[in-house]
Amino acid sequence: MKFLDCNCFVGTPVHRDIWSPVDAKALVGQMDQAGIAKALVWHIAQLELHPSVGNDLLLRDIEPFKDRLIPRLAIPCPHTDEMGDMDEWFARALSTGVGAMQICQPRGSYLVRPEVVGGIARKLLQHQIPLIYSIERGGNWNELYDLLKAFPELRIIISDLGVWPADRMFRPLLDLYPNVMVEISQYFVPGGVESNVMRYGAGRLLYGSGFPACYHGALMLLTAHAKISEADKAAIAGGNLQRLIEQVRP
């Protein structure tokens, strides 16, 4: 089974934590050990310092590993002087081989409301770029519901759900919007994968590890032995992410 990881990061965080941080080289070493073919990767400085600085650090770090690591770029605010011309910013981002984007939401960030991110949403739709929306890293369900109401076609990957089962939160979105997907690094409730696959098909779940804060093997073992077909397992393990990345339009 081919695993693609849609949720891992590089870089040293501001605070020391129980997990040890990695750079791109160490990440690839750990991926080799676990058996992960490719990963969509972001940089902790996108969140803790600034999207643009984090993007630069990310692109520099992963440059030697372009065959394995796909950039997940953070989008700067479109209403200040940080982004510059939006078309040009997106053109530059697409030239890096970006696989998905994210809006980081620490204290100083902008609101992810339709009034604020309308322009960004239209560009994401134009280029079919998935937007990763992290619940645990500053996201908020009401905000996400409002965003999708305004832009129902957006390709949203809801990520870092929090470990306590969030089915009541994300399932209404899966029911309403066919392009909404869920990253499963924090979704390991017994029967959860099976129950979602039965209801929505396997196209809505994506393997993610949360590495280096979490272990690669946790959701690998769960995915490999979910009571679903081998084809469905392969889709969740990596097929869905592969398809999303290939569908990004230049």
Binding site: M1, V163, P165, Y215, L222, A224
Partner: protein, 267 residues
């Protein structure tokens, strides 16, 4: 895949291991706080256990902890239905001392179904050394029973458990979630008190604590727990396979330590 070890190969290929029959020391059943989980019934639990090679679960249904009107009925019923797979912790709710008295007086009658006591002090808005728990601690001390105690960060469980561990040296304290976040304090507790074990429930979703515990020399004091039906055992087992441990460490954590602690009270 995951790691280069015999145990990893076995779990990856079969989802379970004949040489490593898992004992899950921290399990619940049913709903709580109006939440929903797909496999919260006893049949769902047995199915999940089979999937991951969990031989025995020691459980305390949410109803025993959150609904005094139901109390420990489900605990007894689950163990009675699956005597070869399930043992119960008697849920102790400090707000209802008469229930505690009644449950403890019936303990002997259900001795073959019960493996210990379960305390959820911070949820019940008391500390572990609260007077309301005294009869339960005295009972555990007298019968050398395992007591699964919820501990999480600075919820006050550390100091109160130090008091309890000193006062009741024969009670076998299992620190559920290993003081989640306060990893150094958990190590200190386990080193200071021989009757303290650390349960890795909700610990294995962080990368690092288990290696830290093992490096501190505590591999024989670690127990595998999942909060099933909240968390699938494959998540925790997969994490242990990824962690920087030996298969011997994993065997200790996944079943040998629990077997030694619970002895003949589990199947």
């Amino acid at each position: 895949m995951i790691c280069d070890s015999a145990l990893s190969r076995e779990f990856v290929q079969q989802g379970r291991s004949a040489s490593c029959p898992v004992i899950d020391v921290h399990v619940h059943l049913g709903p709580v706080y109006a939440g929903w989980m797909p496999k919260w019934s006893i049949d769902g639990l047995i199915d999940t256990m089979d999937q991951a090679g969990v031989e025995v679960s020691v459980l305390c249904p949410h109803s025993a902890l959150f609904s005094p009107d139901i109390g420990n009925d489900e605990t007894i019923e689950a163990a009675r239905r699956h005597p070869g797979r399930i043992r119960g912790y008697l849920g102790i709710n400090p707000a209802h001392p008469r229930n505690i008295e009644k449950d403890l007086s019936n303990f002997g009658r259900n001795r073959d179904l019960l493996a210990g006591l379960k305390m959820l002090a911070s949820y019940h808005r008391v500390l572990m050394d609260d007077d309301a728990y005294r009869p339960a601690w005295e009972f555990a001390d007298a019968h050398r029973l395992p007591v699964l105690c919820h501990t999480w960060g600075s919820d006050g469980s550390e100091q109160s458990l130090r008091n309890v561990a000193t006062r009741h040296p024969n009670a076998r304290i299992i620190m559920a979630h290993a003081l989640h976040g306060l990893w150094d304090d958990a190590i200190d507790m386990a080193k200071r008190f021989e009757n303290v074990h650390l349960d890795l429930c909700a610990v294995l979703d962080d990368r690092g604590p288990v290696e830290k515990f093992v490096k501190a020399g505590l591999v024989k004091r670690l127990l595998f727990g999942t909060d099933n039906p909240w968390f699938h055992p494959h998540q925790g087992i997969g994490a242990l396979l990824s962690a920087d441990l030996t298969d011997e460490d994993r065997q200790d954590i996944l079943h040998r330590n629990a077997r030694r602690l619970f002895g003949a009270t589990i199947p």
